[in-house]
Amino acid sequence: MTHINIASLEVGQVIGTTEFLLTRDSLVRYAGASGDFNPIHYRDDFAQSVGLDGVLAHGMLTMGAAVQVAVDWVGDAGKVIDYGVRFTKPVFVDAQDGAVLVVTGKIGEIDAENGEVRIDLTATFNETAVLGKAQARVRL
């Protein structure tokens, strides 16, 4: 049970916007938690040696943070039953200032029969979308 009444929802309705500050500390923490120790996510010299402008966030960190907007709205992380994204642009994380990821969720589709809602997420960094077709299906 959730506090959300599916009949009161409308397609296009904004469910929330969250700003996530991703710092180098965030990347190291994600590397440890996920086991993804690709050095492009913590070493500038290595990132530059493979042709990148600098250290970038794990795509999976961006994906994992973005869905929190849907999780916070439904109130239960276990109710996100299907979640997919395309990684369209890198998020470069400045050593001093980090990077601010702005995520907004909107109702994309309502399936009242099954009690499910599709949340369409937009995630931007420096006003550029970094995820494409980011959609989370949530069971209410």
């Binding site: 086991g35 943070a65 276990g78 039953i81 299907d82």
Partner: protein, 147 residues
């Protein structure tokens, strides 16, 4: 260049991964979750779960164990230093919960070649004890061609 003949190849099940409560908390903090269902056993149990629930992208940890097998397979010939993550999806039959013991079975769903680049899509099925399907993880990697 990825070997197109590995399309359809299945890799054997990984060794069981025991999902720990603190691992879920660690991962939840890393993806900036503040959801009590991820962090607080009592909140999770009040919501009907046995223990804390993993964030929706936690299955990547299990998927990686299968992917490591493919990346180490000389037949597939995937140069990890040239890999870029193209897309990712997790379809959950039920959430992953602390205490689950999970194995994954990976199949190379497709290999496409676009000029010098290859796009490889993997489908990883994650099972709990008793062959219970918990999650299907679908991942596409783009492997950049050589200079």
């Amino acid at each position: 260049m990825v070997n197109p003949n590995v399309q359809g190849k299945k890799y054997p099940a990984t060794n069981p991964y025991l999902v720990g409560r603190e691992k879920i908390r660690e991962f939840a903090h890393a993806v900036k979750s503040t959801n009590p269902i991820n962090l607080d056993v009592f909140a999770a149990q009040a919501a009907g779960y046995n223990d804390v629930v993993a964030p929706p992208t936690f299955a990547v940890v299990i998927q990686e164990r299968s992917l490591a097998t493919v990346l180490g397979d000389p037949e597939a010939d995937i140069d990890f230093s040239r890999v870029v993550h193209g897309d990712q999806r997790f379809i959950h039959a039920r959430p992953i919960v602390a205490g689950d013991e999970l194995v994954s079975v990976l199949e190379v769903a497709s290999v496409k070649t676009l000029g010098a680049h290859s796009m490889v899509t993997f489908e990883t099925k994650i099972f709990a004890e008793g062959d219970e399907l918990v999650c299907t993880a679908i991942s596409t990697l783009v492997v950049r061609g050589g200079e």
